[in-house]
């Protein structure tokens, strides 16, 4: 079991491996809903409201892969 709500099915497109670290590119299937938890302060500052077009950022090292 994994508590993270953001779990998206996809297909591995390309794997590049080095000596110790690898980079996995996954083509994620749609539609998906991404849940993010940010500070209340950030919401007020960005003046985000429902229906706004946004860009979601995730560091590649924070992305896990499950099979």
């Amino acid at each position: 079991m994994i508590s993270a709500r953001n779990r998206f099915p996809g297909r591995v497109k390309k794997i590049v491996t080095g000596e110790l670290i690898g980079r996995v590119k996954v083509q994620v299937k749609i539609p998906i809903k991404i849940t993010c938890v940010i500070t209340r302060e950030a919401v007020d500052e960005l003046k985000i409201k429902e229906g706004d077009e946004v860009t979601v950022f995730v560091k590649a090292t924070e992305v896990m892969i499950l099979k």
Binding site: I2, A4, N6, R7, F8, P9, G10, R11, V12, K13, K14, I15, V16, T17, G18, E19, L20, I21, G22, R23, V24, K25, V26, Q27, V28, K29, P31, I32, K33, I34, T35, C36, V37, I38, T39, R40, A42, V43, L46, K47, I48, K49, E50, G51, D52, E53, V54, T55, V56, F57, V58, K59, A60, T61, E62, V63, M64, I65, L66, K67
Partner: protein, 187 residues
């Protein structure tokens, strides 16, 4: 230009902007500590007395206290120079950081990480579907309608353990707190 580029560094200690000691100075102090004599130390290192003395006195001015202590030969002879506790402390600090830097330079994971751009960001466009405001935090649900490509940087061991290859069906997992967002700039 030919040949492979090599990374190197020079390390020195400073106090309030004034240079205290570099690699050569550490070698000098260490040699004095080892031989118990400034004369022997400069002979072993092949440097002039004038240079060594000037270097040490300048260091003491910046540090604000002696780094070496000379004593005259007594009845049994054998005067010499010893490194003070401050001097030994300086050697220790320098060597600690040098070891740290050398190990960082030799760390293949670190350099590979730079090569693979571990600062790589996934950017996914979507539309805010729901906002739930808490007292300190907010939970935002973003609806994504264009199929995104998501990059994951994991260890080769993990890739092997998962047994994944191209075209495999997988799940991408991201903790909600590791995600940040911004309003999309209209172009």
């Amino acid at each position: 230009m030919s040949g492979k580029l090599k990374v190197n560094f020079k390390l020195w200690l400073e106090k309030e902007g004034g240079p205290v000691i570099g690699q050569g100075g550490v070698k000098l102090l260490e040699e004095i500590h080892k031989t118990g004599s400034l004369q022997t130390a400069i002979r072993n290192l092949g440097i002039s007395y004038r240079y060594a003395w000037g270097y040490l006195k300048k260091m003491e001015r910046v540090v604000g206290e002696p780094v070496i202590k000379s004593f005259k030969g007594g009845f049994k002879g054998g005067g010499g120079t010893e490194v003070t506790s401050k001097g030994l402390e300086i050697i220790k600090i320098y060597n600690r950081f040098e070891t740290y830097l050398v190990s960082a330079l030799r760390n293949p994971t670190l350099w590979e990480a730079y090569g693979l751009k571990t600062d790589e960001m996934n950017e996914i466009n979507g539309v805010v579907e729901k906002i739930r405001l808490g007292e300190d935090v907010a939970e935002i649900t973003v609806h994504v309608s264009e199929p995104p490509e998501i990059i994951s940087i994991i260890t080769v061991d993990s890739i092997k353990n998962l047994g994944i290859t191209d075209n495999d069906e997988v799940n991408v997992v991201v903790k909600a707190t590791e995600i940040t967002l911004d309003k999309r700039v209209k172009t």
